[in-house]
Amino acid sequence: MSEPVLRVEDLHVWFDLSGGRELHAVQGVTFELRPGERMGLVGESGCGKTTTILAIMGLLPGSASVAGKVFFDGVNILEKGEETVSPHRWSDISMVFQGAMNAFNPVKTVGSQIAEPMELHGTATGKAARAQVRELLELVGISGSRADRYPHEFSGGMRQRAAIALSLACEPKVLLADEPTTALDVMVQAQILELLVRLTRDLGLSMILVTHDLPVVAQVCDRAAVMYAGEIAEMGEMATIYHDARHPYTRMLFSATPDLLGAEDVKSIPGAPPRLDRELVGCPFAPRCDSTFAPCTVTHPRRLEVDPGHEAICHLNDRVVVEETA
């Protein structure tokens, strides 16, 4: 097995709140990303998935504090915070933002904004940069002549493609895509997803796709991690976690989406995620879970590998706990 291009180890993120309190938004996230792999990061809004990938690139605001390690090609890029993470931006790890429509500055041409990181990181300048910009646009399915147009002249779908082209400007190894298809209509959505799959395959990119939309993950990703309340509840190969979900949350998510490959709206699980500004006792999913038993409200479950490459945080998988309770 090849070395992981990205390895996140025990990542924590806290946000300062008024009155000296803190919001523990990401609680000990650990995962690996292998070269050429497409991994999904799924969960309801507020579960910490966007915060996680922002943390990987060091894009969190001043009110955030981070603990843990992020290894890129074996080097911990979070070692000294901003200092060590910024050199890797765009040239090693890049991002397609949520609401990429607004990722472009309205008063500058799209082309100039795609060339910007090239010139910044010294990959290409002037004419060479312009040529590369045209190439990138063609790659994502936009006519190269549109490089001199302004963002407002692009349709929503085209702007998303342009944002993807932008993310590829410095030939990164890892692409972090945050809800790249939200707010697009279904047809365009499918095209964008297809594009992402094709690009990662052709360019050998690894990708983390963050979304709350299960059908999207199913369509695109090889592996998925399901997040809840700042933690990874379950992680494994797509087929495995679909057929053999080992965390009630995962199971309930999938059953709330009767037709994974269809167009029906995702139904949600009743109840709401817990508040993360206070300490939680027991399993965070317990209040909404349909399979709780004695230890669920008392102890936090351990992270267990139920099968090679398949892990979950749930007491039900913990033989020790199950025996003790019996």
Partner: protein, 325 residues
């Protein structure tokens, strides 16, 4: 003080925000509580204004001397007898200041109300009825926005006004434009709201719609704008008085500044004749601006997260901070 300031005054933004349907639904009862009392600076501003209003109302009780009689020497320095000294006619400055507050504030409030009534009506009619009426009214407003305001005020005052009422009307009539634009944008966005449409389907007549639904929504913004207008009117009064166009029979802070100029207070080293009136005007305008601006900010929340801060995210060590699991 330039009247082009209020962040909502930039004409180009008004139409955009109306189309975006900016949600401003202040809970009417909680409005005062949350915007004014909730914000320290607005509260301070309000208190300052109230203090001055009280001074104006109770002037005869507060002033130590008569503002028209010579009670001391010419340009006497401040002393225990005359806290702010005397002016070039031997009249007590403190009394002049106290009585001066009356006219200054009167003009301020009255002119602001005139502007609010005209501007508010134009804005409501324009925003509500739309179409040709809207276009016409907005063209007129745009034209008035371009024609330089202060020279116009000065010239019109020179022609028409040596009395107080005229001055109030002049200020009010020339400044209704920014209020109109603001209210129009607000009315337009309110109009898009569902419940107004629903009321229409039941068959409620236009007037009922206007008064029952639109006005209460628009009122808070109107009030905020009026407060800022008061500041502007007080400011303009000083201009008008300074150029000798004010009502010669009244005392106002603007007039006091003019007197100090004409009476060569500078040459006579009589700072007490120059400093207090201007200071008072500055403080009142500052206070009104604080209140008005806070109100507007509360109604048009636009402050997003700043992505660019000097302070970056912090790294911290794992142990000691983890919740044990």
């Amino acid at each position: 003080m330039s009247h082009a300031t209020t962040s909502t005054d930039l004409a180009r933004d008004d139409d955009k925000s109306a189309e975006a349907g900016i949600e401003t639904t202040p809970d009417r009862r909680g409005f005062v509580r949350t915007t004014i009392l909730g914000q320290k600076q607005a509260l301070i501003g309000l208190i300052i204004v109230l203090v001055f209003v009280l001074i104006a109302i109770f002037a005869p009780l507060l002033a130590p001397y008569s503002p028209t009689e010579k009670t001391g020497g010419i340009y006497e320095a401040p002393s225990s007898a005359h806290w702010l000294g005397t002016d070039d006619g031997g009249v007590d400055m403190l009394s002049l200041m106290i009585y001066g507050s009356r006219v200054s504030l009167e003009v301020g409030f009255a002119a602001a109300i005139v502007a609010m009534v005209i501007g508010g009506s134009v804005g409501v009619v324009s925003g509500f009825f739309g179409g040709g009426v809207d276009v016409l009214l907005m063209r007129i407003t745009d034209i008035f926005l371009v024609i330089p305001d202060i020279p116009l005020v000065i010239v019109v005052a020179a022609i028409f006004g040596r009395n107080l009422l005229n001055i109030i009307l002049i200020i009010g009539i020339i400044y209704w434009t920014s209020t109109a634009r603001l209210i129009r944008a607000q009315v337009k966005s309110v109009r898009e709201r569902v419940y107004v449409k629903r009321a229409r389907s039941i068959g409620a007549g236009n007037n009922r719609l206007v008064f029952k639904h639109v006005l209460p929504q628009v009122a808070p913004l109107l009030i905020a704008n009026t407060v800022l207008m008061i500041a502007l009117a007080v400011f303009l009064e000083t201009y008008i008085a300074f150029l000798g166009l004010g009502d010669p029979s009244t005392i106002s802070w603007g007039k006091l500044i003019e007197n100090s100029f004409l009476g060569n207070a500078v040459l006579n080293n009589a700072w007490w004749a120059v400093v207090p009136p201007g200071l008072a005007v500055t403080v009142v305008i500052l206070a009104c601006t604080m209140v008005g601006q806070s109100m507007e900010d509360a109604l048009n929340p636009r402050l997003k997260v700043g992505h660019l801060a000097v302070r970056r995210f912090r790294m911290r060590p794992l142990h000691g901070k983890l919740e044990s699991e």
